[in-house]
Symmetry: C2
Subunit: 475 residues, 2 copies
């Protein structure tokens, strides 16, 4: 927890005192009013700094998606539907197009390296759907860095609350980043377009009624994850543009009798929709990814890494590993028993632990080159997952990692990690973020070190940037 | 029922005899294989003729959407994201753009006049999502009329079966035309792009994971219905384009453990997915709309019209009307008690019956000019809906209309209609369709009578058309 960002740290933290009353009767309307009314001066400086951190981290994640088959296909198909040039930057191709085209493609690229951020409580990856929209519209409208950051904060605050609202049953079938992400993208776009509260609510309605994304693709290692972020960003952006032009949406899209929760959740939590608006900054609760894998593997990976270091154990001294996990990890990772692709391997608990144990880390390069190496496969097959009541009860607010290792010489060792690396209480420093950005940009030759350093410098001064232009030199 | 179209009327009706075996184990794969393998020569001539009928009826429905606020807003917003010109025709504006832009806008325009077709068993409006995609891609690829028609048949056969598969619980919250429609659009596009069976299955996966559309908007008379068809057409078209380029989707998007039915239905019927492939032609089961209102009102409207004629009753001789309906009618129409807009009035059972009783019909003009006329409102308030076990049990295979009228002089009269006007057994003739097309085109000045007659002539010879070009002269 970061007290400075979750209390009333701002001089004008609650822009609209009536929001709390409204939240009790119509939380969706309260959320829309908050998103529309949020001004940069309401946002604590520490939250603005964290938004800059997240923007850099997102930018680098996009570059790491360059060249990925699914991303390049989607980029080609979507770009062909748009204009040959335009104000919004397709980062992996260094050319411009319309905001919908650029946001869609950048969103697809955001999520493939599995290095983009995650909010634990909502199990939602905000950056992948928020920043593509914020950047595209800021570029198209000549907006300032301050406007971009405030719009991103609106997107995070809305999307995270919608994800929490949809509950755990939703996540068992739906990819929250696709569903809540559509509304997050609409909030971001709506803020940059200057929607009023009523228009914002219409934008939420048009976004929510397009919310989609099913986990079924995981079983086949199909490309849908990239499509989900692309779709969310594109549909959310259009929803806000539509609202600005007078197109209306359902007023109670979240909690109405035929709304999102009615159709796609069995345990929705209406109180979460408008939880602590203007006081709690959910953006600051967002975690950076350290391992290049599905976040559900990280607590166990950190715990195993700590255990191996503490006991100076080598991989071949391990006979069996039991990871004690929450049900969500079993739902998402359980189907992946023999990963056939790098991307699928990122959803294999055994592979992730095998990389940590045999390669020392589970980074992008380790996945690419070693996910099916014999020693990794051998370790993978020693790993099982077991539901742990304490871990499950704490989830998703806290992602506890517990592992139990049986050694070849008969010992049983245990380790736990209460906050995985990258979580708010164990976050990445700006030098660590810069290092990660340089590595992600170099991974697929997305940008040169000098280009990344120039973007880093712009990020750390983003709030003072009078006009967000292109981030990279044109192709 | 139309025996000629639902039996083995074609010389080569079953293109792939192994489909029945596959249907039992993996109906989604069977459906994809059918859609990919469907050749024009497999399709009975009567089905091709009916597809031409449906194409004309759709074209006119689009023109009737011209000038509608929601449609024009959506057209402006979407067109701004695409190129300023292109091969695919935006019918209401007579200019070209990319296929995604044109299909999206034409789909939005299809559905606003509530005059487009409906398939009873799936409660799905196929034309609104199938033909926008078929026309846009046929124009972009210089395809023949025969190719367009075969692609449309593929789209109808797939979409209707997916709608039936999703079951009645789905329709209580989701607008099937938005959800099943996304897959129907992908099947149509995939057929025109010449996808093989594996690619078609990937297209279904990418479409299904974008399937969306909630009924919540009805409560507010919001504009989402137009967004749903637009979204379905656009997302389905992109899904097929992606599959052609190698993008993969979930193999069991329909019946997988985290697929469409798992997330969005409680009573899915897997056997319906591949029901009678190559033998049953679901396209020929589709109904044309006669009244300009939600289809759920039509059986009762026909029954009331028959009753008033039979007994020579005037509207003011009616003291009360009870319509005996299926649960779906109550779900969709129940929330609309005091319609504030023309569009909402089309979902008001009382208003529809009031127009029939006081104006003689419930056509586009009657809605526009009289939906809040005092005599219509007075009649509306005499109308109630009651669940009828027989009607409910027959639905959705048959849409029975039953009304009970209490007269001001104390009589109780009853009437029933077993097949509403426009249903396959009570269909519109080609002269009736031509008359309807001319009326729809004139309604918002979408095209001149001479222009419509030229399109009619092309429709009746569509299968022989070597290359589908623009349908209307450029603006």
């Amino acid at each position: 927890m970061i007290p400075a960002m979750t209390s009333d740290a701002s001089p004008d933290a609650s822009p609209d005192a009536s929001l709390d009353d409204l939240a009790a009767t119509d939380p969706g309307q309260a959320l829309a009013r908050f998103a529309a009314g949020l001004r940069p001066e309401h946002i604590p400086a520490a939250v603005m700094r964290r938004a800059e951190d997240l923007f850099l981290d997102w930018f680098a994640s996009v570059l790491a998606g360059k060249g990925a088959r699914a991303v390049e296909i989607l980029a080609r198909v979507v770009a062909a539907q748009g204009p040959a040039d335009g104000p919004a930057e397709i980062l992996i191709h260094r050319r411009g197009s319309s905001p919908w085209v650029a946001a869609t493609i950048n969103a697809a690229a955001s999520h493939v390296a599995e290095q983009d951020d995650v909010h634990n409580g909502s199990v939602f990856h905000p950056a992948a759907v928020v920043f593509p929209v914020a950047l595209a519209l800021a570029q198209a409208r000549g907006a300032s860095g301050r406007a971009l950051l405030a719009a991103a904060v609106a997107g995070y605050e809305v999307g995270i609350r919608v994800g929490e609202f949809l509950g755990r049953s939703h996540y068992t079938v739906f990819h929250t980043t696709g569903t809540a992400g559509t509304v997050a993208a609409a909030a971001t776009a709506g803020h940059l377009l200057g929607l009023d509260a009523a228009q914002m609510q219409h934008a939420f309605g048009s976004a929510g009624t397009q919310a989609a994304g099913l986990w079924e693709f995981l079983r086949d290692a199909a490309d849908s994850k990239q499509l989900h972020t692309a779709h969310a960003a594109g549909a959310g952006l259009l929803a806000a543009e539509l609202a600005q032009a007078g197109f209306t949406g359902a007023r109670r899209i979240f909690d109405g009798a035929q709304g999102l929760a009615a159709g796609m959740s069995r345990d929705a939590l209406p109180a979460r929709l408008a939880d602590g608006l203007g006081r709690r900054w959910a953006l600051a609760e967002t975690s950076f990814k350290f391992h290049a894998s599905c976040r559900h593997t990280h607590p166990a990976a950190d715990a195993l890494q700590a255990l191996l270091r503490e006991h100076a154990l080598a991989a071949d001294a391990v006979a069996a590993v039991t990871t004690r996990v929450h049900q969500g990890a079993i739902d998402v990772l359980g189907p992946v028993t023999d990963p056939q692709t790098v991307h699928q391997a990122k959803f294999s608990m055994g592979t992730v632990l095998g990389l940590v144990a045999t390669q020392g880390q589970a980074g992008l390069l380790e996945f690419d080159t070693r996910f099916r190496a014999p020693e990794v496969v051998a370790f993978r097959d020693k790993v099982t997952m077991a539901l742990d009541p304490e871990v499950d009860a704490a989830y998703p607010a806290r992602w506890i990692g517990k592992v139990e290792v049986r050694t070849t010489d008969g010992r049983t060792l245990q380790a736990r990690v209460d906050e995985p690396k990258g979580d708010p209480g164990n976050t990445l420093s700006r030098p660590e973020l810069e290092d990660k950005a340089l590595r992600l940009a170099a991974y697929r030759d997305g940008a040169s070190p000098a280009e990344v350093r120039a973007v880093i410098a712009r990020c750390w001064a983003l709030e003072a940037d009078p006009r967000v232009g292109r981030l990279l030199p044109e192709a």
